[in-house]
Symmetry: C2
Subunit: 374 residues, 2 copies
DNA sequence: CGGGTCGATGTATGCGCATACAGTCGCCGT
DNA sequence: ACGGCGACTGTATGCGCATACATCGACCCG
């Protein structure tokens, strides 16, 4: 690694000019085959790799898209980091750690990323990711913005003014977030309201339930608000009384849901159905209901929202609404591409359809469904 | 977006030189407060975002690390892509799709990425990802290599010669892969052998099992080979007969494991313990053993490897070895940093310690462990 | 009151590549 | 034999920024 070779070195070695070297790499068919071979040989010998920075500068575009996520771990301070595992430690043998290996919030981020990467790859674009954490997330995001041709941001991870600033330079699309006032970004969301409405309608129409209680998430979560609205819409359509707010609010975590559930049980005021704003909440309730010997779905029907894998193996399996996270990433990148091609496009608001998954916990699927794919 | 503003525009607007603008951004304390304010104002007004490409070029380093993964989805051809979900579709209501939301292989990639991102963020580095898929993965990787200051590659995703070529320009660390011949990269791995050995020793010593059968994965998977060796080592230590090869081989998928299991059942030749090379395999066996009414762990003890979440909710819960995937990512980035600081460092081989998780399927934890965190 | 010092700012240059434009060469048609 | 044309290749320039170095002024000391 004495000195990283450049086009000049390659050109000299191959006995050509730098223009030819550049052409061999970018438009091979404009170069005579022999010349091309010479250049390729020189590249191999020198270990030449074109500088992305120089390329980006000269071409006025980087060929990279940015993906910006919130900090699901809540690690804002480097000191918060768990101590790194180090070599030389022996193998630990412990009894049931009980902790899931993957942080639940990270799960769906992974899917979004995968979708985005997939769609980017199709177009020959690279993907750069950033997690907006730490004391100065704006700086981090601006930094990212300077390196990419377009930016997809998960809702609520970047302050509006920063986003607006960035949008003057490159296209920005907001994923899973409502349009705020006059913002001119594209928005790609999941149709929370329609999903929850369909699910609730199913409970009412197909299971004949009329006493449905909504267990919400954080009051400031737009997703939660939309789901509640969907639930209300279904109630209204069925001519049932529509509440003005969720009966209880958790924070989307299983643990909090469990304490809510205990509270509910203590009050002794069980409805016929619990419509939860996300799967973790539903699973938390399921834990406590099961522990209390209350039958789900016979005594209480229970539903979630998200479609996490844990709902597939719970007992009973969890009826829920699957969010197309991979599609969210794909759609975001697709939209970025479109807008990069034509910046004059009017801001779009896209709502991706969801899918209601009927499983045991709402009363469907009376028999166990272990045997699939056999 | 008429024309993206540059330092020149900002300088003119602020009535300074471009050097001052640059300094305001990079070393604010070398600029008088008033001047700084002027520049900041100009930046806001113009919507200026520094070009990462230009910066990288001038500074001779990009501040980005590359992460390269194999293609777990097996999507090599754009045509293979599932049709994108489109707007306007109605909400689908379906009975138990049964498909997990997240591709299992993607699960651990997500963790590695998260670890890498975390560690990179601490140092102010950005992360760029690439999935080596498609017809010309080498081109993709070289492209990536040109844009970053260091590259972490998951084993077997990039041909050796390409990697060697890249390593002449930037530091390369291989994750979860053995050193091949003379390669000069750093290697960070998980201690497969030690983990499997500890697990097997546990079965022998603590549960008194002496008839243990190993169910392997693909014959060309280095991980599998190491795990088999660990298993053999434990057998040897206990004075048991050491096989020369796994009794059966799957391909690390649950479905294949199930057919292996059916075959085993048909043969009617059940050992006292099945030591599986990964969790999916173990779960596949569990499916069929349960279906056949064979008690786990009473009749057959069963263990996996990886520590995926599904093993936490299976019945019985799955004894396994947790791989520190997040740590793998962190360690890789840490190593890259070290090497970037001192390129003369000798190639390191780091083996991260694993953790054996004892759960029900090996015979431990006689009572259910539902109530945690209560 | 001159030389020296230090802080703040400007000037000039190069980073490595893409590409517009200008040759160069061989060949064809007239 | 000459103009013209097409296929290749070379020359020159700019992309936007960081930074070494020069400059400039205020201030201090003797």
């Amino acid at each position: 690694m004495a000195k990283t070779p450049t086009v000049y070195d390659v050109a000299e070695r191959a006995g050509t000019s730098i223009a030819t070297v550049s052409r061999v790499l970018r438009r091979p068919d404009e170069v005579r085959a022999e010349t091309r071979a010479l250049v390729h040989a020189a590249i191999q010998e020198l270990g030449y790799v074109p500088s992305g920075a120089a390329r980006g500068l000269a071409a006025r575009q980087t060929g990279v898209l940015g993906l910006c996520f919130p900090d699901v771990d809540g690690i804002d301070d480097p000191a918060d980091l768990p101590a790194p595992v180090r070599v030389g430690q022996t193998v630990e043998v412990v009894t049931d750690a009980g902790q899931p290996a993957v942080h639940p919030g990270n799960l769906y981020m992974g899917e979004v990323m995968r979708g985005a990467e997939l769609e980017a790859w199709r177009t020959g674009l690279a993907v750069m990711i950033a997690v907006a954490r730490g004391a100065e997330p704006s700086a981090l995001v601006s930094d990212l913005a300077g390196r990419v041709d377009g930016l997809a941001v998960l809702s609520a991870t970047v302050p509006d003014d920063v986003l607006r600033h960035i949008a003057r330079r490159i296209p920005v699309v907001v994923m899973a977030g409502p349009r705020t006032e006059d913002d001119a970004h594209d928005h790609i969301s999941v149709d929370n309201a329609a999903g929850m409405r369909a699910l609730t309608a199913h409970l009412i129409a197909d299971h004949g339930l009329r006493e449905l209680r909504f267990i919400g998430g954080p009051a400031d979560a737009p997703d939660d608000a939309e789901r509640f609205l969907g639930y209300c819409a279904a109630l209204a359509e069925a001519g049932l009384t529509v509440p003005t707010a969720p009966a209880m609010r958790g924070d989307f975590t299983r643990d909090t849901a469990r304490s809510l559930a205990r509270q509910l049980l203590a009050d002794g005021d069980l409805p016929r159905a619990l419509v939860c704003s996300n799967d973790q909440t539903a699973l938390g309730f399921l834990d406590e209901l099961t522990a209390a010997g209350i039958e789900v779905p016979e005594r209480v029907a229970l539903t979630g929202f998200d479609g996490i894998d844990a709902g597939l193996t719970s007992v009973p399996t969890l009826t829920t609404v699957r969010q197309p996270m991979l599609e969210l990433g794909r759609a975001a990148v697709e939209r970025l591409r479109l807008r990069m091609a034509d910046p004059a496009l009017p801001p779009a608001t896209i709502n991706l359809p969801v899918r209601v998954l009927l499983r045991r916990s709402c009363g469907c699927a009376p028999t166990a469904t272990l045997a699939q794919s056999t």
